[in-house]
Symmetry: C2
Amino acid sequence: MVRRNRDSVLGNIAEVFRRYGYEGASLGRMTAATGLGKGSLYNFFPDGKEQMAHEVLSHVHRWFEEEIFRPLEADVSPDHGLQRMFDSVETYFQSGRRICLMGLFALETEDAFSSQIRTYFVRWEEVLELCLQRSGWGEHEARDLAEDTVSGIQGALVLAQARREPDVFVRRMHALRIRLSHPASGARQSGIRDCLQGR
Amino acid sequence: MVRRNRDSVLGNIAEVFRRYGYEGASLGRMTAATGLGKGSLYNFFPDGKEQMAHEVLSHVHRWFEEEIFRPLEADVSPDHGLQRMFDSVETYFQSGRRICLMGLFALETEDAFSSQIRTYFVRWEEVLELCLQRSGWGEHEARDLAEDTVSGIQGALVLAQARREPDVFVRRMHALRIRLSHPASGARQSGIRDCLQGR
DNA sequence: GTCTATACAGTGATAGAC
DNA sequence: GTCTATCACTGTATAGAC
């Protein structure tokens, strides 16, 4: 609000999109959230509202890239990377009180942002899949678990918001952590993995 | 379009809400989808757009009540009820090409429809939890699995839409079916159940 | 009941003063 | 860069003719 660098303005705008959706995020609300007049907003974003949304989504993706995706790739311990992912996810989504802009725009908008949204989710699943493989899961299991996890996070955010109980999100994240826990060798664990795999 | 009974009009309006969200669903689009003038729409729904949304959500809930919730309660075979639930869910959401209006409104709107949305999801979880108990799952397991399933369906719809691959939804539904399959007695299955429970 | 005409607030966007 | 004034348009909603 008081600071006027591009990133802080983008943050204010992101809040408006998150709260009201793309259609509901009017320029009037943007001016209120940023403390800037319409003219100033168009100085920042010459192409208007659509550009704002694009840049907000890019900003979100960039944050996940640095805080979650890259650590998942780079961490020498895949299990530690996974724990870090869940920690960051719970912090980012404020333990279920905040929703996912990518998910919201995926449901609300048709084509305008589909490419950015798709890229974000595909990227998340890819790095997670590879991390799970390094953690000891088989190829098919890792792919299935990655999709299950990314889908599970989105579902948990929707359900927590719908039931107005953020704790729903926390409970789901806990369950997902366990589900991804390192597959020890041995008959019992292999049985568990078959179960998770749906065989 | 051509038929003008209240239910078909409500169906047309539901499509508009589903496609454009609450804010994006303008009365102009309603007139195009229903073939009715604005005046006629206000004759059907004197309180305007908000009433339309309320009635659409009620219509959705009613459909699930009859096609899914009640069968889950009434079916003598809980396992058969579960399979029927997944069949109906996959049909209703058109194998991942259709999204959930309740989930969309949960993310997009703040308070206007929160009570209706919450009731719908709580009801679904309750009937599913009881069905899982009848199917042989323990109390805690049934509660956890019910939340996991309802959350999983929402997440699968979001992810399928986001990645523009309806198959994502079909894959998730298959995995959920397996996860809920009847818990046979025996050490191996109990181990699996402990895993799903996160113990 | 359905339509057209209309009211009027709010929309995204632009121009131009400072 | 930021503001205010203004644009053309669309939004929801209403009134009244048929």
